[in-house]
């Protein structure tokens, strides 16, 4: 059992959970993920690590309630237990001194960007972070990102906070200042990662993205997480989750992510019916 020691609501339907899992905390590195199974009948779902504290033995994850399983997880309270918490999985981010780097987080993608930005800054990089969201209310972890970045840039689709526009506009704004950017990490919704990768490809700036496909075991056993990278099939769980954004076939990845959408709706619907019956 893995206990929720802290819960914080970051925005509407976005929740931070700090989980007591000393073994995982002890080995976790930036860029890695965990597999979580909440109850005996739950799915195994992959979640990227937002933070870890080796002394306290905790690992922090951030969830957005989109499907049934993520919704149930966001409803957990402090003191509740997760049945299974496996990790750290996947390859860690390659951390070294690149020079000046951009860390772009879109929506909840800011969470996995956080430990990467911190590790890159600790390695001597100048870290400029871009936080992008639909509107001001959905900008999360601003203080945490400030603490691990030399500078932060905020963009919102509706202009309610920071620059008006998408993540790519934030990247453009930084490049317009004539800075030489050695590498970019972009993590967020698939469409956002694709846009950033498309934007930087003609500029020749190394761009890494973190794929979050459907997974089952997360240890290379099932191949559900296949991603096409430069015409080569890779398993996101063992070869990734980070890949060269200029080589990822995002269109295929988006289609694969949507494969069980109908079943997700059924599960969510059943859940609502169950809650109504129980008068919740």
């Amino acid at each position: 059992m893995y206990t929720v020691v802290k819960r914080r609501v970051l925005a509407e339907a976005i929740v931070l959970l700090e989980i007591l899992a000393p073994d995982v905390a002890n080995k976790a590195q930036a860029g890695q993920f965990v597999i979580v199974r909440q109850m005996h009948n739950s799915e195994r779902i992959p979640l990227t690590i937002m933070d870890f504290d080796r002394q306290k033995g905790t690992v922090t994850i951030v969830l957005q309630a989109v499907g049934y399983s993520s919704k149930l997880l966001t409803e957990m309270e402090e003191g509740d237990n997760l049945l299974d918490f496996v990790g750290p999985l996947g390859q860690p981010t390659e951390i070294k001194n690149y020079g000046t780097v951009l860390c772009v987080g879109g929506g909840v993608g800011v969470a996995p960007i956080h430990p990467i930005a911190r590790a890159l800054r600790d390695a001597g990089n100048k870290v400029i972070s871009i936080l992008a969201a639909k509107n001001k209310d959905l900008i999360i972890l601003e203080e945490e990102m400030k603490a691990v970045s030399d500078e932060i840039v905020i963009t919102t689709d509706d202009g309610s906070y920071g620059l008006k526009g998408f993540a790519t506009h934030g990247v453009q704004a930084v490049l317009d200042r004539g800075l030489e950017i050695s590498a970019i990490w972009a993590i967020g919704p698939m469409i956002m990662m694709k846009s950033v990768a498309d934007f930087t490809k003609p500029l020749g700036i190394k761009t890494l993205v973190s794929m979050n496909p459907i997974m089952v075991d997360g240890t290379g056993m099932c191949g559900a997480c296949r991603v096409l990278v430069g015409q080569e099939t890779k398993f996101a769980c063992v070869h990734g989750p980070e890949f060269d954004g200029h080589l990822v076939d995002f269109d295929l990845a988006m289609k694969r992510s949507a494969y069980f959408r109908q079943e997700e709706a059924i599960a969510l619907h059943e859940h609502k019916c169950q809650c109504q019956k129980e008068g919740k």
Binding site: K27, N41, R44, D84, V86, V216, D217, T233, V238
Partner: protein, 462 residues
């Protein structure tokens, strides 16, 4: 003469009814039938069947106990050599092992050793398992990586010798392929867990959710006080065909398909939240036991047409004859001498059909089977909604990649001594599919047992 009596059939669920449920197909011998079948055994002075058993169960003796109606004793005799008899009685390929050696098989049909093993084991489980005796604690500690057939057997043998044993399992439940791979209708998961509980009663500690290679490593285990390590991480890496369209939605590896259904119980969706979908037409690529399991699972999940697509002919099917027969009875259709060259999809990226080639058989190849030769210009299209790729598995590299100094062969399997199961690292042993490549449950158990004997010797010198 008892031997003139024909071999007794085992009752099975009706073929039509069972195609719609996940309950066990083979129902086991009723008590009187078991006694009658046991009476067919000639009690050979030099029993060949024992030599055919990878773990050397004293077959004539346990069968004799069944004739004497000493069923619990029969189970105890099996358990001296094999602590997972209810599992082996169900999934061992007895026809090519113990039963293949039975003298009755020369002119007629061999004694149904597997069915009798299952009977004795199930009888014991129903009565409440007796705890096997363990020797006094030695104070030595062994870490076993992987709770599949090899790891469980090795752990049980080591616990019996008085060593402290901890199993590190990557998934959330112990059992390995017995839980994620073999379907409920062939091996009920409750049976697997009961046999594993027997190990826990012997003092074996099982730590789940521990991915060795990530959360810890072989070296760290040795450094943290384990005197020896056994690696039984299996063949968990699915092979694909590398044909166009293989990443379309609706193409599953057999591992994914079976793991969703078996381990995650997707057949009980939405009571269990993991989804699986098959559509109306399912093509399973491959002809082994895993392919049969996937095809029969697809039928039970509601597919109207399920095809086994196999490059060679029926004679070469690597699956057990019994499994092929079960699949045929339930309505699985066999497209033999056929294999796809491309999978086609619709605008959503979902599978819609496969382009296949027809094959003919040529001269035997290095595997001894006739080599399939594609017939030029024979392309044709089969319309399908789901494709399950069941063409084998390779060794999972998570442990081997992170273990410095561990010698591997070019396929990535661990090089271990055939007799001692010792690897290139002192104190580290390996067995099962991670050494042989994908094989059978009982072969893995045999390897686990051999390794335990070597570990025993090794620990005595420490």
């Amino acid at each position: 003469m008892a031997s003139k009596m024909p071999r007794h059939d085992m009752p099975r669920q009706d073929a039509l009814a069972r195609g719609n449920n996940f309950q066990e197909v083979a129902l086991g011998y009723p008590l009187e039938v078991a006694v009658q079948e046991a009476n067919r055994c000639l009690q050979c002075k030099k029993p060949k069947c024992v030599a055919g058993c990878p773990v050397g169960v004293d077959i004539p003796k346990f069968i004799q106990k069944i004739t004497e109606r000493e069923f619990l004793e029969a189970a105890q005799i099996i358990k001296r050599k094999n602590l997972l008899p209810a599992i082996c009685g169900r999934v061992c390929p007895q026809e090519s092992q113990c039963e293949a050696q039975c003298i009755l098989g020369v002119k007629g049909e061999p004694v149904a050793i597997g069915r009798l093993e299952r009977f004795a084991a199930d009888y014991e489980i129903a009565q409440g398992c007796c705890k096997p005796e363990c020797q006094a604690p030695t104070g030595k500690k062994v870490a076993v990586i992987g709770a599949g057939p090899a790891g469980l057997t090795c752990a049980a043998e080591l616990a019996r010798s008085g060593h402290g044993v901890t199993i590190y399992e990557a998934l959330h439940v112990a059992g390995g392929v017995l839980m994620y791979g073999i379907p409920e209708f062939r091996l009920p998961k409750a049976i697997v867990q009961k046999e594993i509980n027997g190990l826990k009663d012997m003092g074996v500690e099982i730590k789940v959710n521990q991915v060795v290679g990530k959360v810890t490593s072989v070296q760290e285990l040795l450094d943290s006080g384990y005197d020896a390590v056994f690696i039984g991480t299996g063949a968990g890496l699915p092979h694909f065909l590398n044909i166009p369209g293989e990443n379309l939605c609706g193409v599953y590896s057999a591992n994914e398909f079976l793991t969703r259904s078996n381990l995650m119980k997707a057949y009980d969706f939405p009571n269990h939240i993991t989804p699986i979908k098959v559509g109306e037409r399912v093509a399973v690529l491959g002809g082994g036991n895993v392919a049969m399991d996937a095809a029969r699972t697809a039928l039970r999940l509601g597919a109207k047409d399920v095809y086994i697509i196999y490059r060679r002919s029926k004679t070469e099917l690597p699956a057990r004859a019994e499994e092929v027969e079960n699949a045929e009875e339930e309505g699985v259709k066999f497209h033999l001498l056929t294999f796809p060259v491309e999978i086609l999809g619709n605008e959503k990226g979902n599978v819609k059909s496969m382009v296949c080639l027809r094959y003919e058989l040529g001269e035997p190849d290095e595997s001894g089977r006739c080599k399939p030769l594609a017939i030029k210009g024979s392309e044709f299209e089969i319309s399908v909604d789901t494709v399950v790729v069941a063409v084998g598995q390779g060794p999972n590299p998570l442990v081997t990649m992170t273990t410095k100094g561990l010698a591997l062969d070019k396929r990535g399997t661990i090089l271990a001594d055939k007799e001692t199961m010792a690897t290139s690292i002192p104190g580290v042993y390996a067995g099962g599919d991670i050494v042989t490549g994908a094989a059978t449950v009982i072969q893995a158990m045999g390897a686990g047992k051999k390794a335990a004997a070597s570990i025993n010797k090794y620990l005595a010198t420490k």
